[in-house]
Amino acid sequence: MKIGLAIQQVRSAEQDLAEELERVGARHKTDQEVYHLTRTLAGISRRNARELASFQERYPVTGGAGEEQGDSGLLGKLREKGSEMVEAVSSGSEGKRKGLLDAAREKGAELVGRRPETGLLLLRDLRKLYVLASEASIDWVILGQGAQAAKDRELLQATKDCHPDTLRTLKWALTMIKHVSPQVLTS
């Protein structure tokens, strides 16, 4: 039974998505719609990841593959953290704590908010969000299939309740990309 793995996969994908949403929001503070909506959507991703935590007890991650997966998840996290720190250092911040980092990023956003390149950065960020949301979405599909095969009505319901939220984030990123890219590419 690898359902525990699939649950972990979704949780980690939603966590990653939430973190990236928050990062993008902070980076584009002067783009108010992005700033506010990313925070709302990040909150929903975290909530859904939490929702799955209770199922993790029912389906613990066991066996070599699981450990491996867990490790790689952890490794991934570490790598993310590292890149955050690199980013912070390169922008001249101590960057030891998340609050500081965010503040630095928001300050930076205010400074670059009046440059045409901001659009290109936003497009890059939205593209990454789209990819992360796609990953999270397909992980929900996989988990849903597993839940059906395991005849776990509750887990299946959880995927039905939560997956649309991920699809919505995906669709939002797509809408924004369609809106922003013509201006970025022709200016």
Partner: protein, 835 residues
């Protein structure tokens, strides 16, 4: 004639003189359900003149709000000298709003712009049309060569005429080829249009003002009709004073005249409308006040609606909204018992948090009750400005002309056929750019040319410091077309003097789809030109061509423009094909759709539950109500293949900016009956300006006591973005809320010396937040946090805020708002029913 107030019921052919500043709604003419509303003709002429002195009466409609009251301009010796209500008129039956009675005087103001201006060595200097237009065209051509059509933005208004907008639309979309065309209607009417698209598949007001004649229950959400659509409020008051009056529910944090009149007044905290509405829907479903046959036959999405509101009990909403659960129950019961339910919505919803989702929930209530398209049973999603409806119809408000769907290639091809251009020439790769995004692109520096018409963003947009800094940029070429040197015009590189209402001909359409003709009565001052002529001149100088090399813009005057528009709108929901200028002269006011089948127009839309929602026809495939993410055509087709009404809902989420220790008040901005927008016209009309001469800050007695603030004390209202100073008005407003009217610009206060980089201490939008509804993109003016600090004692001087409107004081403040003899208006009564 005697002077007001006179509470006796007038007889037929009586006439009275009424101070219409003191009595904004005039004399009551009560009537019963289903009866015709009696005629009362309001007339105001310049001092000493009588009707016999008038050389000519010229037909038009009101330009200072969205009600669309038919009226005549009195002309003497080539000047406007007054106005009177036009009879016959389906909208107002002869009545006029105080703003219309007195506001025309602004036309005659000495400081009208009379010659074009261009910036030279940092200053605006007078020049001739050829030089000004030459400069604009040179900049345009160079930008098209060096950059791209995406470098152009057009920011228009809700106060021009249909013909102006249609011409602007073709110039921007097919001439320049930019997607960046929007109106200040984004600030007033975007949510109305969006909620109609979301619920019914297409824009178009379902109801009619005449529904007031028939309704048994009327609910007004954030809609201070008494001060915004004054004449329709007179109609409602006349029903309320007649036999079998309708019940009235008001939803508003302020003690507005509507709230005072209401049988039930719910006072939700700013930003919680959706929580309240979700709870109302929960109760309506729980009480089974649902017309299941209607829902089954004419809607999709009921299951999701039920699911989404399942936990939204009155007890859940009560602490969020600060409204008693029992009051929510009572409102739901009254709505559920109604047989003819009319619901109306305005800025309290549109300019607040989760605007579109809340407005859609109002539509949902009428839909689940099966009360759409019948006399007295409907929805009025109102507008703020006189021609906001036309901005939407002609595609100047984030849509394509004729309510065409930008995501539907067949619609774009059809428009391209009418304009005789390649479909690719019309940008339709994403939703047309909304105003806030246009300013954002200008801020980033990817829009370098911005043409602003008849609107004053330097006062009316949120967070003014930011807006000024955008308009001041060297790299942005700003053209302003207006009738005065507004705060915005002062920041422009070229200023074009325009003619206004009464000085040019065209049509415009009110919030209940009534089309009026407004004829030229007098010549504009100096070299000022009609907006249409300015656009036509630009198109000619730019040499815009269609795909056969012929001029793109093929019309030359208002009537030929109107005829061209009729072709564009033919067989679309806003079908004007049965309307001509001639017909509008004969029968003032025709409601679209008007075609061969409906030669006299259409009173109500969706009578048999036939919506413009089938995938091939709909104006929009809809959006997600939380994020504004667009639905794809395939999703919409799967969800709504038969084109039923769409019951859409969203979860409540808290407002982005909430109160804190530092900013403990909820800031609410809004309007007063006596002023319009940034007062460009009303401040130049003495009776109106004197009735509400300066900004004020309304707070509750309890808050005032806690802060030791008394009536008239000068307070500072500050938000994280800026601060203003105003005298305090102690009113019955909800505790914890401070209200500031947004009208107070600073053009008429030359003594005021504003330090560089600081805000103007009386413009409410120094305080507001740059944030908009994710779905309609309408800015949020009613949800921000603020703090109040006492600055100065009143010295015995009360706030000058009106005492007879939403700003009514809790205690006598030593004066009553009156206009005196200068505000005396003749009311002539015709055909008051017996009894």
């Amino acid at each position: 004639m005697e002077s007001s107030p006179d509470n006796s019921r007038p007889g037929a052919n009586d006439a009275r003189a009424v101070d219409r500043i003191a009595e904004p709604w005039g004399t009551r003419t009560p009537y019963g359900a289903g009866e015709p509303w009696p005629v009362r003709i309001d007339t105001f002429l310049e001092g000493g003149l009588s009707e016999e002195d008038v050389d000519a009466w010229v037909q038009t409609a009101s330009i200072l709000h969205s009600n669309g009251d038919a009226m005549d301009i009195a002309v003497k010796d080539g000047r406007i000298v007054g106005v009177r209500g036009h009879v016959p008129s389906r909208v107002n039956h002869g009545r006029l709003d105080p703003k219309d009675l007195f506001g025309w005087q602004a036309n005659n103001s000495r400081d009208r712009l009379k010659r074009p201006l261009v910036r030279a060595a940092g200053r605006l200097v007078e020049t001739d049309w050829d030089t000004a237009m030459g400069l604009i065209v040179e900049r345009s051509k160079k930008l098209l060569e060096d950059a791209s059509p995406s470098s152009f933005g057009f920011y228009t208004t809700g106060q021009l005429f249909l013909e102006d907008y249609y011409t602007l639309g073709i110039i921007a979309r097919a001439g320049i080829g930019t997607n960046h065309l929007d109106g200040n209607t984004r600030l007033c009417t975007a949510t109305a249009g969006e909620s109609l698209k979301e619920s019914f598949g297409c824009d178009g007001q379902p109801g009619s003002y005449a529904d007031i004649d028939h309704a048994d229950t009327i609910v007004m959400y954030g809609h201070n009709m008494a001060e915004t659509q004054t004449v329709s409020w007179m109609r409602l008051l006349d029903r309320r004073r007649g036999p079998n009056p309708p019940r009235l529910i008001a939803v508003d944090p302020r003690p507005t005249p509507v709230a005072e009149e209401a049988d039930l007044h719910l006072r939700p905290k700013n930003g919680t409308n959706l929580a309240l509405l979700n709870a109302l829907m929960h109760e309506i479903i729980a009480n089974d006040s649902v017309d299941h046959d209607y829902v089954e036959a004419h809607t999709v999405g009921f299951g999701e609606l039920e699911e989404r509101t399942r936990t939204c009990t009155p007890e859940w909403a009560a602490p969020i909204c600060g409204v008693d659960a029992e009051e929510i129950r009572e409102a739901a019961r009254m709505i559920g018992e109604a047989e003819r339910l009319l619901q109306t919505v305005l800025q309290g919803v549109y300019q607040s948090h989760q605007a579109t989702a809340a407005a859609c929930q109002v539509n949902n209530i009428n839909l689940v009750r099966g009360m759409i398209g019948k006399p007295g049973a409907g929805v009025l999603q109102m507008n703020g400005q006189p021609s906001a409806q036309n901005t939407r119809e002609t595609g100047c408000n984030g849509d394509l002309p004729g309510f065409r769907n930008w995501q539907n290639d067949a619609h774009v091809e059809d428009l391209a056929r009418i304009w005789n251009v390649d479909p690719l020439a019309i940008p339709h790769y994403s939703e047309p750019t909304h105003a806030m995004q246009i300013f954002r692109f200008a801020e980033e520096g990817t829009i370098n040319f911005l043409w602003i018409q008849c609107t004053n963003p330097a006062v009316s947009l949120p967070e003014l410091r930011r807006i000024r800094s955008i308009l001041e940029q060297e790299r942005l070429f700003v053209v302003v077309q207006d009738i005065y040197l507004t705060e915005t015009a002062q920041l422009a590189d070229a200023v074009l003097p325009a003619a206004t209402w009464g000085e040019k001909t065209g049509t415009f359409t009110n919030a209940d789809r009534t089309v009026h003709l407004s004829e030229k009565a007098i010549e504009p001052p100096g070299e000022a030109k009609a907006d249409l002529d300015i656009f036509l001149d630009y198109a000619r100088r730019m040499g815009f061509r269609d795909k056969d090399g012929q001029p793109l813009v093929k019309w030359s005057d208002p009537e030929s423009t109107f005829e061209a528009w009729k072709e564009c709108a033919r067989d679309r929901p806003c079908d004007y094909s049965g309307i001509t200028y001639e017909k509008l002269r004969e029968q003032s006011g025709i409601q679209w759709p008007c075609d061969d089948e409906h030669p006299n127009g259409t009173e109500r839309l969706y009578e048999n539950g036939d919506f413009w929602a089938v995938p091939e026809e709909c104006e929009s495939y809809g959006k997600d109500l939380l994020t504004g993410a667009s639905w794809e055509p395939t999703e919409y087709t799967a969800a709504n293949p038969l084109g039923k009404a769409i019951l859409k809902a969203a979860d409540y989420v808290p407002p982005y900016e909430t109160t804190s220790e530092e900013y403990p008040f909820l800031l609410n901005t809004g309007r007063t009956i006596y002023q319009f927008h940034t007062r460009t016209k009303t401040a130049r009309s003495p009776q109106l300006q004197e009735a509400a001469p300066e900004v004020w800050a309304e707070l509750s007695s309890a808050d005032a006591e806690r802060l030791s603030v008394g009536e008239g004390d000068v307070v500072e209202v500050a938000s994280p973005r800026g601060a203003i100073r105003a005298r305090a008005r102690i009113s019955a407003i909800r505790e914890g809320v401070v209200f500031v009217p947004f009208h107070y610009s600073y053009f008429d206060d030359p003594e005021e010396d504003v330090p560089e980089g600081q805000g103007h201490p009386r413009a409410a939008n120094e305080l507001t937040i740059t944030q908009w509804d994710a779905v309609s993109k309408q800015p949020i003016y009613k949800t921000a946090a603020a703090r109040i600090t006492k600055i100065e004692d009143s010295g015995g001087q009360p706030s000058s805020a009106p005492t007879n409107t939403g700003s009514k004081p809790v205690r006598d403040v030593g004066f009553r708002t009156t206009g005196g003899p200068a505000a005396r208006v003749t009311e002539k009564f015709e055909g008051v029913p017996e009894g």
